[in-house]
């Protein structure tokens, strides 16, 4: 049976709070954790499949043009080489998240340096890698390939544009105004597991083990790319070694492996090298952002402007939505917002953890720090004064709003010294020490989701969906939700994920996974409870279940009489999406040390306070937060994609040159989970927390650098050379 529920109204019943098992929200260890810590959890490339050949991608060494010829004979005689695949169906870019159609295909047409153009298949990885290096390719190069986003006429993203009132006039009239331009560099997801796929055909049936965040969309993308029926495809992504946006859309190795396996009539494994992952998947666009504020004598905004220039390849719909939270986080009746995208021939730009706010919020919150200084008030107080009652553009109510609580509780826990702030108040030896803060905001998303829950005759439960766990904790929180509803310890609930044989989940992305799939599981469990109540001779709302028994002491097995109950929950967000502005909010506080002579910045401590609806598992939620804060540190201080201005190739395409934070860069982190129930966010009153932790945190660090040493920087990352150049004296 399928139970469909479309959520048009907020659910404020908070029924999960009335359940008796008492496991939801608790800090339970991950149910798949033992498999991960003992190395027994299999990731995409790690399935043993007999007769599997190895494929290595060959990528373009020109920026724009055409592959004229590929000399197969240059490698076919090398030991072990089986085939060179350059099928026109091979994909040349990863699909954008939720594309739901084939990504760009046709490997002969080259649009960026590093684009996949062929696949070499051999008996062993070493043979394939060697042959891929020796493959002779002839190109015809196009002359003009713009690479600089500032050198082309950009396209306006009209649905982002807001002209409200007269910002220029408001700024001219206001006692305080700010007009700053802030830049951010490109970023890479750099998930630790490289993109990988093993494809195997059985007649016209295709099975692919792949590392994907959204099998529910990826299966459609793959079927479209191969001209197949979805029913003939099975995608399996049980364990995904990190995604952060890079595995939202179908990536090139999946299509290549499937085509190669068909061609040579053997299973084929293709694992992208780290360098290939950097170049063929997704970059977060660099941004140039102009922030303008007009404020009255007390710092209340009368005008708010945020314009951003981002870039992408021709033909891509994605434009880094840097203004996303700027539309609603602060008031100001005169508003000017505009997003423009420059068409250039760098690699594909797409989603990297928290697309939009990851770079929009640090820019906004750096500018707010400038405003606080101009007005002469405490920066926390400045934020508190500018929290709007309703969405300032759409005039909608907020589904819930925890910014003020996060600011206050965060400041208290951090030991924030209130008042007007002056830089350079504390020095220890070579080091200036200072603090900074920033607001966090991440717009909430929710998606359609399906999950099947089976209460087995033996009194255990099974949850099945093609939803993934990319480190987010899905396995565990679904066991907790089902356990809470059905009166079972989570270890009595088996959760099976990442297999398209199961009902379609929402996929992991945009922080919507937990609230969407959690709602589907909740709906399925509710239907099972109704059947159980009938068997127990009571009504569902009176049915109390805990530890496998009813309040009257009957066991589930007794009630079930040898028969399973299976229900599929189908959740779909309805009018709640249009009737409210919904977001997760929070606040960051950081203390840094800046070296007076070298400009090096070290983060001494950092705290984040976050309100994101119901907490499903305090431990995994906190982990998402510390992960986000860690990314904030990288964004603030070290992470930057560097492209060669001549041909647009990514110069720092590995983990030695693209600097993600390492152990010693990250201090102990404090996280406050500011509990709330947001009934308009989802059926289980939860929002997402995978991204909020990096939506503004970099500004807390940047603002702390200014407070410490007086260097006011408007360019991220704030590397030592930049800090030194801005250092007073």
């Amino acid at each position: 049976m399928t139970v469909y529920f479309k959520q048009d109204e907020p659910d404020t019943s908070n029924r999960l709070d009335g359940m008796k098992q008492g496991v939801l929200g608790k800090s339970l260890s991950r149910v798949e954790g033992l498999a991960k810590v003992t190395g027994t959890a299999p990731y995409a490339a790690e399935y043993h499949i007999d007769g599997c050949a190895e494929g290595v991608l060959v990528t373009s060494t020109i920026t724009r043009g055409e592959v004229v010829s590929i000399d197969r004979t240059s490698v076919l005689s090398m030991p072990g080489v089986i085939a060179v695949v350059d099928d026109e169906k091979m994909s040349t870019r990863a699909a954008q998240g939720t594309a739901n159609e084939a990504p760009m295909q046709g490997p002969r047409q080259v649009c960026y340096w590093g684009q996949p153009i062929a696949l070499v298949v051999a008996e062993t990885f070493e043979q394939a890698r060697d042959a891929a290096k020796h493959l002779k390719v002839e190109y015809r190069e196009d002359a003009a390939a713009p690479l600089d986003p500032h050198a082309v006429e950009p396209e306006e993203q009209e649905d982002e544009t807001v002209h409200q009132g007269d910002l220029a006039h408001a700024m001219a009239e206001a006692p305080h105004s700010v007009d700053v331009t802030i830049t951010t560099k490109g970023h890479a997801s750099a998930a630790m597991e490289p993109h990988a796929a093993i494809a195997e055909w059985d007649g016209d049936k295709l099975t692919v083990h792949a590392s994907l965040q959204m099998p529910n969309y990826n299966i459609t993308e793959l079927a479209d790319a191969l001209d197949m029926e979805e029913d003939n495809i099975r995608l399996i992504s049980r364990f995904v070694g990190g995604g952060f946006g890079s595995k939202l859309g179908l990536s090139e190795e999946v299509v290549a492996a499937a085509l190669a396996a068909k061609q040579i009539e053997r299973p084929v494994r293709v694992v992208q090298s780290r360098q290939q992952v950097f170049q063929t998947v997704m970059r977060r666009s660099e941004t140039t952002q102009r922030l303008r504020f007009a404020a009255d004598g007390e710092g209340r905004l009368t005008g708010f402007g945020h314009e951003a220039l981002v870039s992408n390849l021709p033909g891509e719909t994605f434009a880094e939505p840097a203004l996303q939270s700027s539309h609603f986080i602060y008031g100001g009746e005169n508003r000017e917002l505009m997003l423009k995208v420059a068409r250039i021939h760098l690699m594909t730009a797409g989603s990297v953890r928290a697309p939009g706010e990851a770079v929009g919020m640090p820019a906004l919150e750096s500018a707010m720090d400038v405003l606080a200084e101009k007005v002469g008030i405490d920066p926390v107080e400045l934020r508190l004064r500018n929290i709007p009652e309703r969405d300032p553009e759409k005039d909608l109510p907020f589904s819930s709003h925890k910014l003020a609580e996060c600011l206050k509780q965060g400041a208290e826990a951090f030991g924030w010294q209130k008042g007007v702030r002056k830089p350079r108040q504390r020095r220890e030896g070579e080091w200036w020490i200072g603090t900074g803060m920033a607001s966090a905001s991440r717009s909430h998303s929710i998606a359609e989701a399906k999950a099947r829950v089976t209460l087995k005759a033996d009194g255990t439960a099974l949850v099945e969906t093609d939803m993934t766990d990319i480190g987010t904790g899905t396995y565990t929180i679904l066991a907790q939700i089902a356990g809470e509803m059905l009166g079972l310890q989570p270890d009595q609930v088996l959760v099976e994920l990442g297999d398209t044989r199961h009902p379609r989940g929402p996929g992991s992305g945009g922080s919507w996974g937990a609230s969407s799939i959690g709602s589907a599981v909740y709906i399925a469990c509710n239907a099972i409870r109704e059947e159980l109540a009938e068997k127990a001779g009571t009504s569902e709302d009176r049915l109390e279940l805990a530890d496998g028994r009813t309040a009257a002491g009957q066991t589930l097995a007794d009630l079930l009489q040898g028969k399973d109950i299976s229900q599929e929950g189908h959740y779909e967000p309805g009018a709640i999406e249009d009737d409210f502005t919904a977001a997760g909010f929070g606040a960051f506080f950081a203390q840094v040390r800046v070296n007076h002579y070298t400009g090096e910045t070290r983060v001494d401590r950092m705290l984040g306070a976050f309100g994101f609806g119901r907490v499903l598992n305090a431990s995994t939620a906190r982990s998402q937060c510390i992960g986000g804060i860690t990314w904030s540190i990288g964004l603030a201080l070290t992470e930057a994609l560097e492209f060669d201005p001549r041909d647009g190739h990514l110069v720092n395409c590995d983990l030695a040159e693209y600097h993600v934070p390492v152990h010693r860069d990250v201090p102990d982190l404090d996280v406050l989970l500011v509990e709330e129930r947001d009934g308009a966010a989802s059926q289980i009153q939860a929002k997402g927390i995978g991204e909020l932790g990096m939506c503004g945190g970099a500004a807390a660090i940047g603002n702390a650098i200014y407070n410490a040493c007086g260097a006011r920087l408007f360019d991220y990352p704030m590397t030592p050379d930049r800090v030194l150049a801005a250092m007073p004296e």
Binding site: T124, E126, P194
Partner: protein
Amino acid sequence: MTDTITVNGTAHPMPDDPRVSLLDFLRQHIGLTGTKKGCDHGQCGACTVIVNGIRINSCLTLAAMHDGDSVTTIEGLGTPDEPSALQRAFLEHDGFQCGYCTPGQICSATAMLEELAANWPSDASESLEGRMSISGEEIRERMSGNLCRCGAYANIVAAIEEVAAGGKS
């Protein structure tokens, strides 16, 4: 010369192809996929294993160079039924998310605690000689070759500190 590599106590014949890295030997040839490939260039630590008691990046060395050596991988440290103290501490402190860097972190930490016990100094040490103290900063410095993009560092350090304080690894 034995023409074998001993992995977790079992001797395996060396691969024929001299290009096979120790990492690929473990993952592809003898099916021990607990050791992960994150970069294949010695940049991430996901492939960390313990060779003759010393932690190394298995992607940076060829299997052919390990004739007669004794290799311990994550599978050799503990099993789901009998996890090691560090494996259990990682679980309890949520010292991982996606889990892909985790075997490398745990192998690295296992050998790192031995290095501390043997008083090997690091950049974070107050002195190059004498007893090394087990501080958060020492652990962070010594573990900095193991990247975790999920950003579980704070919890990883807490897990290692707990085991270090308990005097067992």
